[in-house]
C-alpha cells in the first residue's frame, strides 16, 4: 500500500518522537529540515507543540516518525509531560554556542529517563554547527576551553562554539545517548540523527499500526498510571472531575 510498490512492501511502523530543549536552539528548524528539507530564518515560535510526520526508510522497514516539536520557553516545561507521554524516542537539542542550553538539555535527559516510557531512545543533538569553524563534527576542543562563561556569540573570530564536542560526547556516552552535532541551516547531519534513532528503536517496541489497544500504547499507559505527571492522570482525573 504505502511501500515502494515492487515486491512485498516493507513493514511500516510509527514512532512517536518528541523534541525537547531550550528556547531558540533550533528544535523546530531541525524538524523542518528533516520533514521539508527547508530552513526559515524567522520561524514562528512553537505554541505548546507542533506536530509533524515524516517517513524514514530503513533497509528492512519503514519508520513513520510522528514528531512533537515542543515549545522551548522555560515556562512551557510544565506542559512537556503531555507531549513526551508514550514517546518512543526523544531528541534533546542544545545550541553548541550556548553553554546554558546544554545544562538545560541535561535536565531534560534526566526528566526523560525518570518520567518517560522505559526504553525511550534519546538522542542528544548539538545544533547550529554552521556557526562554528568546523563544518563537521570534529575538532572544537580548543574553542570550547573558554566555553564556560556565557559570552556573546561569535566574539571576534567566526567560531562561536562554546561547547566542545568531547564534553557533550562524553556526557552522552555516560548516559547512553545517541550523539550528533548538526546544522539545521546547512542540513548537516540532520537526516543522520533521525536514521540513527530509527535504527536504535528496539523491534519489540515497534507497533505495526497504531490503534486502539495497541500493545505499545497499553504498555505506555500502564507505566503512566504509576507516575504523577501532567498527562498520566488524565483518565483518572478526568473521571473524577467530570463524572457529573
Amino acid at each position: 500500500m504505502e511501500g515502494p510498490g515492487n515486491a512485498a512492501p516493507k513493514p511500516s511502523s510509527s514512532v512517536k518522537l518528541v523534541l525537547l530543549g531550550e528556547a531558540a536552539v533550533g528544535k523546530s528548524s531541525l524538524v523542518l529540515r528533516f520533514v521539508n528539507n527547508d530552513f526559515q530564518e524567522n520561524k514562528e515560535p512553537t505554541i505548546g507543540a507542533a506536530f509533524l510526520t515524516q517517513k524514514c526508510n530503513l533497509p528492512t522497514r519503514t519508520i513513520k516518525f510522528e514528531i512533537w516539536d515542543t515549545a522551548g520557553q522555560e515556562r512551557f516545561a510544565s506542559l512537556a509531560p503531555m507531549y513526551y507521554r508514550n514517546a518512543q524516542a526523544a531528541l534533546v537539542v542544545y545550541d553548541l554556542t550556548k553553554p546554558t542550553s546544554l545544562v538545560k538539555a541535561k535536565h531534560w535527559v534526566a526528566e526523560l529517563q525518570r518520567q518517560a516510557s522505559p526504553g525511550i531512545v534519546i538522542a542528544l543533538v548539538g545544533n547550529k554547527l554552521d556557526l562554528t569553524n568546523d563544518g563537521g563534527a570534529d575538532a572544537g576542543a580548543d574553542a570550547g576551553a573558554a566555553g564556560d562563561d556565557e559570552g556573546a556569540e561569535g566574539e571576534g573570530s567566526g567560531d562561536a562554539r562554546k561547547i566542545p564536542t568531547e564534553e557533550a560526547q562524553a556526557y552522552a556516552e555516560e548516559e547512553g545517548l545517541l550523539f550528533f552535532e548538526t546544522s539545521a541551516k546547512t542540513g548537516h547531519n540532520v537526516t543522520d540523527v533521525f536514521t540513527a534513532i530509527a535504527n536504535a528503536i528496539p523491534e519489540t517496541s515497534l507497533k505495526s499500526t497504531r490503534g486502539p489497544g495497541g500493545a505499545a500504547a497499553a504498555v505506555g499507559r500502564g507505566a503512566d498510571e504509576q507516575r504523577v505527571n501532567l498527562s498520566g492522570q488524565r483518565d483518572n482525573a478526568a473521571k473524577e472531575g467530570c463524572a457529573c
Binding site: S14, K16, A23, A24, E41, N42, K43, E44, P45, T46, I47, G48, A49, F51, T53, E66, W68, A71, Q73, E74, R75, F76, A77, S78, L79, P81, M82, Y83, R85, N86, H107, A110, E111, R114, Q115, R210, G211, P212, G213, G214, A217, G220, R221, V228, N229, L230, S231, Q233, R234, D235, A237, A238, E240, G241, C242, C244
Partner: protein
C-alpha cells in the same frame, strides 16, 4: 460583628493546615466587590458602594433635545450601582445580593441572551458626567437626568459655541430610582460626593478619549483633522482580509449610527443591538476601540493614561530575562503580516511586550503573548494594546501566561471535561485511541485561536471573546469538535486528528453546505456555521459552567504542576543534594515551600486584619458595603503552581524553618504570651508565627544562616538550604561535622577562632543541647568522667531515667571542659616567652604547661567588651519583643552577692600571672578544636550524631512532639518552648515525668548560666586585676580538666562529700570557679560552693519564674 464570621473562618484556616492549601474562598464564594468588578469590567480599585433599583430611559434616536416624551425611547429596568468613580447600570440582576455568587450573576443573561457579564446598560466614569438634574416625576420619588460629556470632549471650547447643536449630540438619559425615599437620598448623596471628587479627572478623560477612533469617526467632515487617532498597524499596512468581503464599509456605517445614538467609547450605552453588531464582526478601524471598551481595559487606561509611556521611560535601557526572550520572538510574531516584516510593527511589539513585562514581572513574557499582542497591534495603538494585555492576563485568561501556565493547563482540563460531557461518544473514542485532546486544543486557547485560524476569523472570535469572556473560547472549541466529530471518529492517532482539524481551519472560508440546492444555505461559510454552533448549540456553556469546572479541577491541576515543579527543582539542585536521600530532599522541598507559602498567607491575613481594624474606626456608612470576602482573592497567592511567588527565605523564615524540624530552634518564650492568653481571638491572627512554635533567635542560627547564604544576598534559596543541610547531615562523618562547626565560627576564614569565638561555640553547644541531646549517645560510657557522674547520680531517680538525664547533664560538663581545654590549648596570636615556667620544667611538658598557664590566664582575664557579650549570652540578641531566655531573671540578682565577689578575687588571684594580659589575643585552630572535641566522648557523639540528627527533615518536630496540625498540641508545643526552663519549680508537684523533665530543663538552664557566669567572672576578674595583680600558684593546672565535667554533672548530688578528698583538693580552684558560678546563679549564695548551695538553687529557680500558673496549664495539655 460584621466581620466576626470571617475572622473565625480565617482563624480556622490558620488552624487547619490542609485548608490553607485548598481552594480559596474567592473561587467558591466571590466577594461582592469582585463580582461587581467583573460584571462591569472595572479594576479592583472600584467597590460597589451604593446600589438601587432603577429604570433607565434612553431617548429615541432622533428626538431633539426639547422632546421629552418619556413614553418614547427605550426603557430598561435594572440596577444602578455607584462605586468610587463609576456609575453603572445593568439590566441583568446584579450580583449585589448577599448570597450572590458568580453563578447567579451570569446564569441570567437578560435580554441579550448570553451577552456576557457586561449585559445591557452603561459603565460611566463619574468624570464623564457633565450634569445631573433632578426631575419632577409623579410615578417615582426620584428621577435624575444625566448628561454626559459625550461628544464634547474632542473639541475645544472656543471653536465649539453652544449654538453648534447640529453637530453635537448631547447625551442625556433619565434614571428613575425605585426605592424608598431614604435609600434614594442616600444614593444621591453618594453620587453628589462622587461627582465632586471626579471633577478633576475630566482632563484624564479627555486624554483617553482622544485616542479613540470613534471621536474621529463622528466628527463632522469639515472638522476632521488630517491625522485620525491611531487605529493600529492596519492603517499603515492594511487590515487583514478583503474589506469588501468583510463588508467593512457597511459595518462602519451601522456602528457610526449606533455610536451617534448611544454614546461613544467611554460613554457608550449597551443595548441589544450593540451585542448583535459585535457578533457580525467589528469594522476594522473601530475594532481596537470596541475591544478596549468591552474588555474594560479602557477603564484601566483611564485610571492611569500615561502608565504605558511612563513605564517605557522609567525602564528605558534596562535589561531583563523577559526582554531577551521577547527579542528572540519579535521576528516571528505573525510574520506573514506585512506590518511585522517592518521595523515599525516590530518596534511597537517590542515596546508593548517590554512595558508589560516590567509592570507585571510575575508574568514577564510568555511565548504566545507575542502573537496575541501582534494581533492586537493591527487594530489598536500601543498604549491601548498594553492595557488590553493587562486585562487579558489579569482578568480574561488569568494564569494562561504565568510562569507555570496553570491557567492554560486548567482550562485544558475544563475543556476535556466539557467535551466528555457534551460529546461522550467522541470522548470515548479519544480515550480509546489514546489521543490526548489538549495537545491539539492547547494552542487554540493559549493564542486565542489567532495561531490556529486564518486571522480574519480569529479576530471574529476575539470580537465576541472580549465582550462575553473566556467561555467563548470553550464554545468555539466545542463547536470545532462537534462540526468535525464524524471525521474525528475515524481518526485513530494524534497525527490524523491534527490533520483533520488543520484542514478544517484552512477551509473556514468555504461554504459549509457546498452541495445545497438553497443558494442562501450555500452562501453560509464554515466559519459562520462555526459561530452558530458555538453560540447556539453550546449556549448552555456559561461563565458559571466554566467557573464551576475550573474550581473542580483546580486542585488536581495544581498538584500535578507542583509535583512536576518539585521534580524539576530537585533535579536541578546540584551535587550537594546527592548527599541527602531523595526522600530527605523531597521533604526539604516541601518544608521549604510550605513554609514560604504559609508565611505569605499569614502576612496577607495580618495585613488584611490590620487594615480591617484601621478601617473599623472609620465611618459607619461604609460598613454596609464591606463584604465578608474582601481580600479573599489574595488567599491563594504564594502557591507554587500559581506562578512565581517568593522562593527566597529570609532570616525570619529561616528561623521558622529550623523551628519546624529542630527542637533547639524553638524559642524559650512566646511572643507576648500574656497578650495572647488574654482572649481576643483575633489576636491569634496577628501572630507572626501562625500556629507553629515561636522560633528562637540565637547567634548560632544567625551564623548558620550566614554560612548557608552563599551568595550573601540575605536570603536563602532552596539550593542553599539543601546544600547547607547536606553538609551537616549528608556526610555523617564527625570530621566533616567538626570542620563545619569550626568554619561557622571562623569569621575571617583564616583557620583560627579567637577567644570570642570559643565562647560563642560553647554558647552554641549549650543552646543546641538545652532541650536535651538526640542521636546515638551511649548511656553509660567507660570514661572516668561519666562513670563518676553515674556513680554520683542522685539515688532517688530510677536508673533508666538517669541514663538520659546524666547524658544531658554530662554534656554541660563537657561544654565546660571544652571551654577550659580550648583556652588551655589555644595558641597565642603573638608567641611570648614565659620566663617563670621555662626554667622549672623541660621538654614537651614545659611547653604544654606554659600554654596551660596562658589559657588559665585568659580564661579569667578577658577583653573589656565582656559586658556586651554577657548580654548576648543571656538574651541571645533578641530584638525587642522576641524571646527572652528564662534564665535571665534569676541570674542577674544573684550576681551581686558578696560571696561571689570574694571568690572571684580569690580565683583571680590564683590565676593571675604574667600571661594575664587582656590585650593578648589567642586563638584555636581547627586541629586544636578537633582535638578538644575528640577528647570528650560526649562532644564527640554530639558532633557525630546528635547535631546532625537534631534536624528532623523528614518527620519534623511533629513526631517527637505531638502532631503540629492540631491546634491544641501545637499550642502546647509552643508552651513547651516557652516554659522549657521552668517546670523545675517543684518537680514533685508535677508528677514524676514532669519532674524529670524539670530537672533536665533546669540543668540545661544552669548550663547556659554557667557559660554566662564564666564570662562574667572573667570580666570581673579582669576588673579586679586592674587594681591588684597577685602571683598565683599554677601547679595543678596541667592535670585533667575533665573532672570539671564531673563536678557540673553531679551538681545537686552532693558532689563535695562523695568525691575522693584528694581530687577535691586538687580541683578546688576549678570548682570554685564553677560552683561559684552556680551559687551566684542561685539566690542562696552559700559561698562555699557545696552541694547544698546548688540544691537550693534548683528550688530557687521556681520563684524566679513568676508565671508558674500557665506552665501548669501546659502540663495538662501535654498529658
Amino acid at each position: 460583628m460584621l466581620n466576626l464570621s470571617s475572622l473565625v473562618q480565617k482563624a480556622q484556616q490558620l488552624i487547619d493546615p490542609t485548608q490553607g492549601l485548598n481552594l480559596s474562598n474567592s473561587d467558591k464564594n466571590p466577594s461582592k466587590a469582585s463580582l461587581f468588578q467583573s460584571q462591569f469590567r472595572l479594576s479592583s480599585s472600584q467597590n460597589p458602594l451604593y446600589e438601587i433599583n432603577a429604570e433607565l430611559t434612553i431617548p429615541p434616536p432622533n428626538a431633539t433635545q426639547g422632546d421629552r416624551d418619556s413614553d418614547r425611547g427605550y426603557h430598561y429596568a435594572g440596577k444602578l450601582h455607584l462605586s468610587e468613580a463609576y456609575l453603572c447600570f445593568s439590566t441583568t440582576p446584579s450580583s449585589f445580593v448577599r448570597s450572590a455568587n458568580t453563578a447567579t450573576s451570569s446564569v441570567f443573561t437578560g435580554q441579550t441572551h448570553g451577552a456576557g457579564p457586561s449585559g445591557n446598560g452603561f459603565t460611566f466614569p463619574l468624570c464623564a458626567i457633565r450634569k445631573v438634574e433632578r426631575l419632577n416625576s409623579q410615578s417615582f420619588q426620584f428621577a435624575l437626568a444625566i448628561t454626559t460629556w459625550n461628544s464634547f470632549l474632542s473639541v475645544t471650547g472656543k471653536e465649539n459655541p453652544p449654538t453648534d447643536k447640529k453637530n453635537l449630540r448631547e447625551q442625556r438619559i433619565t434614571l428613575h430610582l425605585a426605592d424608598t425615599r431614604h435609600a434614594c437620598e442616600r444614593f444621591c448623596d453618594g453620587l453628589k460626593k462622587g461627582l465632586r471628587a471626579a471633577v478633576g479627572n475630566v482632563g484624564r478623560l479627555r486624554k483617553v478619549v482622544a485616542e479613540c477612533y470613534s471621536e474621529h469617526l463622528l466628527r463632522p467632515e469639515e472638522k476632521k483633522d488630517a491625522s485620525p487617532p491611531d487605529a493600529g498597524l492596519g492603517m499603515m499596512f492594511r487590515y487583514p482580509g478583503d474589506p469588501k468581503k468583510l463588508r467593512d464599509r457597511a459595518k462602519m456605517r451601522l456602528w457610526a449610527e449606533y455610536l451617534r445614538d448611544n454614546g461613544r467609547n467611554i460613554t457608550i450605552i449597551r443595548q441589544p443591538t450593540f451585542h448583535k453588531l459585535i457578533r457580525v464582526g467589528l469594522p476594522n478601524r473601530l475594532r481596537g476601540e470596541i475591544w478596549e471598551m468591552t474588555s474594560g481595559s479602557i477603564h484601566l487606561r483611564l485610571e492611569n493614561p500615561t502608565l504605558y509611556a511612563d513605564t517605557l521611560a522609567k525602564f528605558a535601557g534596562k535589561e531583563s530575562l523577559a526582554i531577551d526572550e521577547i527579542e528572540k520572538d519579535l521576528n516571528r510574531s505573525l510574520p506573514e503580516y506585512p506590518g511585522f516584516q517592518d521595523e515599525e510593527g516590530i518596534g511597537r511589539l517590542r515596546r508593548v511586550l517590554t512595558a508589560y513585562s516590567w509592570i507585571n514581572p510575575d508574568v514577564g513574557y510568555c511565548q504566545a503573548m507575542n502573537i496575541v499582542v501582534a494581533a492586537l497591534l493591527i487594530y489598536m495603538s500601543e498604549s491601548q494594546a498594553f492595557f488590553l494585555l493587562s486585562s487579558l492576563c489579569e482578568r480574561l485568561v488569568p494564569g494562561y501566561y504565568s510562569t507555570t501556565m496553570y491557567g492554560t493547563l486548567l482550562d485544558q482540563k475544563v475543556f476535556e471535561c466539557l467535551v466528555e460531557r457534551t460529546m461522550p461518544i467522541l470522548w470515548e473514542h479519544l480515550v480509546k485511541s489514546d489521543v490526548q485532546l489538549s495537545v491539539v486544543s492547547l494552542p487554540w486557547f493559549l493564542s486565542l485561536y489567532i495561531n490556529s485560524m486564518p486571522l480574519v476569523f480569529a479576530f471574529r472570535v476575539l470580537d465576541v471573546f472580549f465582550v462575553e469572556g473566556p467561555k467563548v473560547l470553550f464554545q468555539v472549541g466545542l463547536a470545532i469538535m462537534r462540526i468535525n466529530g464524524e471525521e474525528l471518529l475515524d481518526a485513530a492517532d494524534d497525527g490524523t486528528f491534527i490533520s483533520v482539524l488543520k484542514s478544517y481551519f484552512s477551509r473556514l472560508d468555504e461554504s459549509a453546505h457546498p452541495k445545497s440546492e438553497n443558494p442562501k444555505l450555500r452562501a453560509v461559510t464554515k466559519f459562520q456555521e462555526l459561530m452558530v454552533v458555538a453560540f447556539k448549540e453550546f449556549s448552555q456553556i456559561t461563565h458559571s459552567t466554566i467557573t464551576d469546572l475550573r474550581l473542580r479541577n483546580k486542585d488536581a491541576v495544581l498538584r500535578n504542576i507542583e509535583s512536576f515543579t518539585k521534580r524539576t527543582a530537585i533535579r536541578n539542585l546540584g551535587p550537594d543534594s546527592k548527599l541527602l536521600s531523595a526522600d530527605e530532599v523531597g521533604a526539604l522541598y516541601d518544608r521549604f515551600y510550605t513554609l514560604l507559602y504559609e508565611r505569605q498567607q499569614r502576612d496577607l491575613i495580618i495585613q488584611e486584619e490590620t487594615r480591617r481594624r484601621a478601617r473599623d474606626s472609620r465611618a459607619r456608612a461604609q460598613d454596609l458595603f464591606r463584604g465578608e470576602g474582601e481580600g479573599d482573592h489574595i488567599v491563594d497567592k504564594g502557591r507554587i503552581a500559581l506562578g512565581p511567588s517568593t522562593s527566597m527565605m529570609d532570616y525570619n523564615a529561616f528561623r521558622e524553618f529550623l523551628a519546624s524540624m529542630s527542637k533547639w530552634a524553638v524559642a524559650d518564650t512566646q511572643l507576648q504570651a500574656q497578650a495572647h492568653t488574654g482572649n481576643r481571638k483575633s489576636d491569634a491572627l496577628l501572630n507572626p508565627w501562625g500556629s507553629g512554635p515561636e522560633p528562637a533567635d540565637h547567634e548560632f542560627m544567625r551564623r548558620l544562616f550566614k554560612s548557608w547564604d552563599v551568595g550573601g544576598t540575605g536570603e536563602l534559596t532552596l539550593a542553599n538550604v539543601v546544600s547547607g543541610l547536606a553538609r551537616i547531615k549528608g556526610r555523617r562523618d564527625i570530621m566533616g561535622a567538626m570542620n563545619y562547626f569550626f568554619e561557622l565560627y571562623d569569621d575571617d576564614s583564616d583557620g583560627k577562632v579567637d577567644r570570642e569565638g570559643i565562647l560563642r561555640i560553647s554558647e552554641a553547644l549549650l543552646f543546641l543541647s538545652r532541650r536535651g541531646l538526640e542521636g546515638a549517645l551511649s548511656p553509660s560510657t567507660s570514661t572516668p568522667t561519666s562513670n563518676g557522674a553515674n556513680s554520683q547520680g542522685q539515688p532517688g531517680t530510677s536508673e533508666t531515667d538517669l541514663g538520659g538525664v546524666s547524658a544531658n547533664e554530662r554534656f554541660l560538663g563537657s561544654v565546660s571542659a571544652f571551654i577550659r581545654r580550648c583556652f588551655e590549648y589555644a595558641d597565642p596570636d603573638r608567641p611570648r616567652t614565659q620566663d617563670g615556667q621555662a626554667g622549672e620544667e623541660g621538654g614537651e611538658e614545659e611547653r604544654e604547661k606554659a600554654q596551660a598557664d596562658n589559657s588559665e590566664a585568659f580564661a579569667i582575664g578577658d577583653d573589656d567588651d565582656e559586658d556586651e557579650d554577657e548580654l548576648d549570652l543571656l538574651g541571645p540578641d533578641s530584638p525587642p519583643g522576641s524571646p527572652k531566655p528564662a534564665a535571665k531573671p534569676s541570674t542577674t540578682p544573684a550576681l551581686s552577692t558578696d560571696g561571689s565577689a570574694r571568690r572571684v578575687s580569690r580565683a583571680q588571684s590564683e590565676a593571675a600571672n604574667a600571661a594575664l594580659d587582656p590585650a593578648n589575643p589567642l586563638h584555636i585552630t581547627l586541629p586544636t578544636f578537633r582535638m578538644v572535641v575528640l577528647a570528650d566522648e560526649l562532644l564527640e557523639q554530639f558532633f557525630e550524631s546528635s547535631f546532625p540528627t537534631s534536624f528532623h527533615i523528614m518527620e519534623g518536630l511533629g513526631s517527637s512532639a505531638p502532631p503540629a496540625s492540631s491546634s491544641l498540641t501545637t499550642f502546647s508545643s509552643i508552651n513547651f518552648g516557652h516554659r522549657a526552663a521552668m517546670p523545675a519549680i517543684a518537680p514533685a508537684a508535677q508528677g514524676a515525668t514532669r519532674g524529670l523533665r524539670g530537672v533536665l530543663d533546669n540543668i540545661v538552664t544552669d548550663g547556659m548560666r554557667v557559660a554566662a557566669e564564666v564570662r562574667k567572672r572573667m570580666d570581673e576578674a579582669q576588673k579586679e586585676l586592674e587594681k591588684t595583680a597577685l602571683p598565683g600558684q599554677k601547679d595543678e593546672d596541667d592535670e585533667d580538666d575533665a573532672d570539671i565535667g564531673v563536678e557540673i554533672g553531679v551538681r545537686g548530688g552532693g558532689a563535695g562529700s562523695s568525691t575522693d578528698p584528694e581530687r577535691r583538693r586538687v580541683r578546688s580552684e576549678d570548682r570554685d570557679l564553677l560552683s561559684g558560678a552556680d551559687a551566684e546563679a542561685g539566690a542562696t549564695g552559700s559561698g562555699s560552693g557545696s552541694g547544698s548551695g546548688r540544691e537550693g538553687k534548683l528550688v530557687d529557680i521556681g520563684p524566679g519564674m513568676s508565671d508558674a500558673g500557665p506552665s501548669k496549664g501546659v502540663v495538662e495539655f501535654e498529658g
